[in-house]
Amino acid sequence: MFRSRRTASDFRAEIEAHLHLEAERLQEQGLSEEDARASALRAFGNVTQAQERFYESGRWLWWDRLGQDLRFGMRMLARSPGFTAVAVATLALGIGANTAMFSYVNAWMIKPLPYPQADRLMVFESHDTKKGWTMEGLTSTASFLDFQKQNTSFEQTALWAGWSFNLTGDGAPALVEGGRVSWNYFDALGAKPMLGRTFTPDEDRPGAGHVAIVGEGLWQSRFAGERTIIGRHITIDGEPYTVVGVMPGTFQFPLMGLAHLWTPLALKEEERADRGRSSVTAFGRLRPDVTPERAGAESAAVFGRLERQFPRTNTNLTLLVSSMTDLIRRKEGAPEVMICLCIAGLILLIVCANVANLMLARATNRTKEFVVRGALGATRGRLARQLLTESMLLFFFGGVAGTLFGLWGMRWIASEIPAHIRGYLVNYGRVDLDATTLGFTLAVTLLCGLVFGLAPARENSRPDLNRTLKEASGKASDGQRSARLRRVFVAAEIALAVVVLISTTLLVKSFIISVRPSPGYDPASVMVAQLALPRTKYAQESRRRVFSEDVLARLHALPQVVSVGAASAVPFGGFGRSTNVEAAERPAPQPSDRLFAQLTAVSTDYLSAMRIGLVKGRAFTSEDAPGRSPSVIVNETLARDLWPNEDPTGHVLRFGDGLTACTIVGVVRDVKMDQLRPRPQRQMYVPLAQFPSATLGFVVRTAGDSATMAAAIRDTIWAVDREQPISSVEPLETLMAIVDSGNRVLTKLMVFFGVLAMFLGAIGIYGVMSSLVSQRTREIGIRTALGASPWQVMGMVFGQGLKLTSIGVAAGVLSALGATRSLAAILYQVTPNDPLTFTAVPIAFAVVAAAASYVPARRAMRVDPIVALRYE
């Protein structure tokens, strides 16, 4: 397009050369110099016209006019700083919200996972064809190993299990998150170590390889980033391991969470042969020519054979081949992010309607200017272009400010996600303003600028010369069409705001419902210290028992301690485990019909320290000592599932691999163990004294402040065992907040969007009403002069505002009825058409809108007829 850009002076030189050449030729034919020149000019025709035609045919004109428009537009924006500030600020809010939300959509739903050919990575999910459940991970290690041998679909399949390691030596004892992984785990993901190597097949055998790979972060913080780390011995769970490699900090496996240390999985022979159980998860890399469907069909065929071969363990069980990308996106909260982007999109529409309305109002006041320009020969297209340029300028500034606001929003969201959760997010939840996001912002800004700039440009570029010039003030009752357009805009704006408000209210309400009910215990002023005892040092049960009893006694003696307790797993602590349970008096169930329950071993005072309500029977006492017949306390759900309509106390329950028999001594209330929005879960408690645990959570109910208490708890534990790593000492409420952080961020965003929508809707109606009043000043003056009372005038204006509001609100409620259905998946105990929300929100909004139109109505009431009529 710009290829043949030629300057006007170049063109002039060419014409000059032409005239010279022609004149010289004529002189050769005998004409005098003067005649030759005149003749050449005559033959050429109109020189000026030729130059003008050149100018108009060139791109110069276009650029020149654009420059003019831009300069003029800038002047107009600078002349009304209030309008410009409001428009740019609201646009920045709308565009920024979209930029921030889109950056997450981009990071979590558009960008591929950070592995080579990530679309070929598949995760194996166990599926029960009869009961319909699906879970990540394996239900039978042996069956998977059969599949691994027999399949032809996968280049590699790798196994992993998340693990916490006790790291001692080289500084304070530390609990390090990581994983036990099969030797090809890193290769299958396509990840390379930054130093050293990954594991070899030989090292992935029981007892063979005491080798480890450390993450860059741990390498830097604990081993000072020394390259001599390769080949060094470190102490993991009390045993020496040789470091063979260092993984770069960018390597991450969101399904595992934060990981800084890896050792070979080294499955034992009995684990490899186990068909009834598995504690590992598996993924694989498809061969390039195999589709996920074909791999799934092959897996179904293999598991069909296994089902016939091992009916006792494999009945109804199959292995689904699912895309790793999809699974990670689902876990990251892709639906929530999409809903946020949709709501941000609605906000932007409201903002745009608002800005278009402001532009229309302003243009109405500039009618005279357009009329004069039209009279001086500006074409309609030229005027429309001028107006469009002005609106594009506004949107451009809004876009720039919005990008900055969006960046800030992205940082804010990132800061709201706790580090622990970030481990499960691709790229640790970091999002940045990359080319895709910037492109999106630019496209959205330009599109909105064009669409919403066109309406005012179209409306105002055809002023009626005669009528406007005749009316001396130039602003009386003209712009009927433009006024109608603005009413349409403002009604649409109110409708959109109502949709946003209803949606956000539903989401906030479901969050409040999810946190309001008691978790079943009292988490306030409870400190939790978690640790895992090394298997070697605490191999004997008695040593574990002594450790926990010693720590409990010392904690109890601390000042400001109200009560203490210990459990193998505390709520939201991460040590929870499940076990199979059955009623002793009934025949053993089929493996696929087994019931599972969360199993917690607790000290005698744990239930009272946590304030978990006892419904029937008794709590544990010192009677439940080692050597005595074991007792168990169940929660209401487990009691109901095993002995419906019966008093469970006194019955015998069997659990675990060894089907240990215990007598039920009590029933307690259900508690929330790992989710704030759970379905009822079966739970059971056994005495810690009879079942000493290697994982321990000490709970300390305190009257003192948490920081001093945390330090005191650490010292107490180290007083018992100087080498014992403590994974965390935190208030229980913090642990709960971490789990719920995603919903917390979502809720804060929803509150922000809701308030913004309400605010924008209110300023929308305020703006329209006040400019209508100022346009009708003369009319109101005449009405008052003819005897209308101030109250009648106010009623007239207010009534108009009310009419607009009710149309908008009604349209909004109807749209919301349809729109909120898409929220169903992420709502908790709130129906998408929650009647309370659908009544309260429109009423509240109508009140706000009425208040917004009351102010201009008051002004109309005070119009002085003398002033209004003299105003001309």
Binding site: A17, E22, A43, A50, S57
Partner: protein
């Protein structure tokens, strides 16, 4: 030459100027004045080309990529902008020539009998 003479010459039909320019340039690069001169001379002074009309046409052809332009020196040592035919221009000339021949023949057939009578 007087205005009288000029008026007796044939006005160019719409759209034919482009074709004539392309045709003229087939003999090699030429500047604007040369093109105007050549059209007049080859048509045995029958066609009237207002020299000023030539330049917008040249501009248009250049933008379409049918001709290319470069400043050079004329035979009498004056700086002038020389135009030459591009490959695309050559193809366009072939197309346009064929089209023009068909048009002229068709019009000729319609006007035929009258032409014989006169």
């Amino acid at each position: 030459m007087s205005t009288q003479e000029a008026r007796e010459r044939l006005e160019l039909l719409q759209g034919t100027l482009d074709l004539l320019i392309l045709r003229t340039l087939i003999f090699g690069p030429e500047h604007g004045q040369g093109i105007a001169r050549a059209i007049q001379q080859t048509s045995e002074e029958e066609l009237l080309v207002e020299h000023g009309a030539l330049y917008p046409a040249l501009q248009r052809l250049e933008e379409r990529g049918w001709i290319a332009a470069r400043w050079g020196t004329s035979s009498n040592n004056r700086k002038a902008r020389f135009y030459s035919l591009t490959t695309d221009g050559r193809k366009q000339l072939v197309r346009e020539t064929a089209r023009w021949r068909r048009l002229a023949a068709a019009i000729g057939r319609i006007l035929g009998p009258e032409a014989r009578r006169s």
